[in-house]
Point group: C2
Chain length 266, copies 2
């Protein structure tokens, strides 16, 4: 029975899968991350992972995010959930064999959204697992939606929701870049990393970028970060690190100094 | 949206796994059963499968059924649930590629037991899936228990619970013998198959066997059947067929004449 506040760790789909291959998992990376998680021995940990090349192409093929419009999409919904459980299975395999008492909790079994936003989350069992010292593992998933029939729930929305509902101490986001930049670091050599941001500073950046361009010039990172703002507003700091590089996630979990972007309320 | 009453189909762990191997799934059998399920086109179907050589050895190794007594068992609980998701993944793979809109619903995420009996089942989402035309797939699993900490929930208990709660029209049980015999058909050549039993007749057999021997001389089948009695009492007939033989499950789903044991209230 633990009294410490939980940490929510997100592992991006782009870190643990190869986006150029279909259903191509990076098992060596998954194993290294399991080692880092095991080494950090966080008492009260919730893990959320993304879909990468497993969930996204399948969901897109059948238009799952846009909701139920025709009968044939039902098989696509089943397929999208299934491929996510396959990726999750690889993650669980690695966690369990690294002696982490991890339990998968499928969002499709306990979350219902309304127009894509979490409306109802049966989290009593998840909380019991956490209290007993298990590490619940969730993931971006195909879920039922009260207005759309069904939709896609992103791992990022899940992270913010769980962190707020469980009064997490921190959120650690593992992505495939070193943090939040002022431009897409994969496209621009001059992209500057933000190391520390307050909520006010983050909003200023958002406003500036929103005005200057219709698309997300940060390579999609600002969109992900936006999803986390309600949690930061509630006083939960966010640390974004490069999970594709060794020991970054470990250091972030241990509260050690680490290259990355820290976003705090003030 | 379907108005017909659901059918609950149980596939025994001994049918889809090889009990002599560890984690050895019979994928050819799983695929044949998927074909039969697909061909039967049951509108309102719930599938439950057992653990066979995946769940049972792992659960036994860590004493999961007996509940939480020491810290080290937590990893065993995680491992038991994980190996069940691996077997379930193989079943889901086959169902989805056979164009069945099947959705796995992990009991560990939605069921809590009390001294091994289902106490609470968050089935709202499962019912939504069923209403929308999906086929929910559940399985024997490691679950949290209010008195024991955790335990093992059998697929048979799940089947009876779901059939009663969802007012199923029928239960079809696929096992690796032709039905319920008066002795273990694997040990006794003279074992006689019961083809039709009323609840009164079944209870008479139970009484006789209970008195004559401490163990279950029917090869474990009577124990499984006992779990289903409350559902039969509620008027839900049970058909036990040999799922290891081709077309038996198909015929049972189609209500065609089939070798097996039918148990009815009167």
């Amino acid at each position: 029975m633990s009294e410490t506040k939980p940490i929510v760790l997100k592992i991006g789909g782009s870190v643990i899968t190869d986006k150029d291959g279909e259903l191509a998992a990076r098992t060596a990376v998954i194993n290294r991350l399991s080692e880092e998680i095991q080494k950090a021995r966080v008492e009260n940990l919730i893990i959320v992972h993304g879909g990468g090349s497993f969930g996204h192409p399948t969901a897109k093929k059948y238009g799952i995010k846009e909701g139920l419009r025709e009968e044939s999409q039902k098989l696509g919904f089943a397929e999208t959930h299934h491929v996510m459980t396959v990726l999750n299975g690889l993650v669980m395999d690695s966690l369990v064999w690294h002696n982490i008492p991890a339990i998968s909790v499928a969002p499709s079994c306990c979350v219902v959204t309304e127009n894509g936003r979490i409306k109802c989350f049966n989290d009593a069992i998840l909380k019991s697992y956490l209290r007993m010292g298990f590490a619940p593992v969730l993931y971006g998933d195909a879920v039922l939606d009260e207005k759309l029939g069904f939709t896609v729930l992103s791992g990022d929305q899940l992270v913010a929701h769980l962190a707020m509902k469980l009064a997490a101490s921190r959120i650690v986001i593992g992505v495939d870049t070193d943090g939040l930049y002022d431009a897409d670091p994969k496209l621009s050599k001059n992209a500057q990393l933000y190391t520390n941001l307050t909520l006010a500073e983050l909003k200023k950046i958002q406003d500036k970028l929103d005005k200057s361009t219709a698309s997300d010039v940060t390579g999609g990172m600002l969109g992900k970060v936006s999803e986390l703002i309600p949690a930061v507003e509630q006083g939960i700091p966010v640390t974004i690190v490069n999970a594709a590089k060794a020991n970054r996630v470990y250091k972030a979990l241990m509260r050690e100094a680490v290259e990355g972007t820290i976003i705090e309320k003030e």
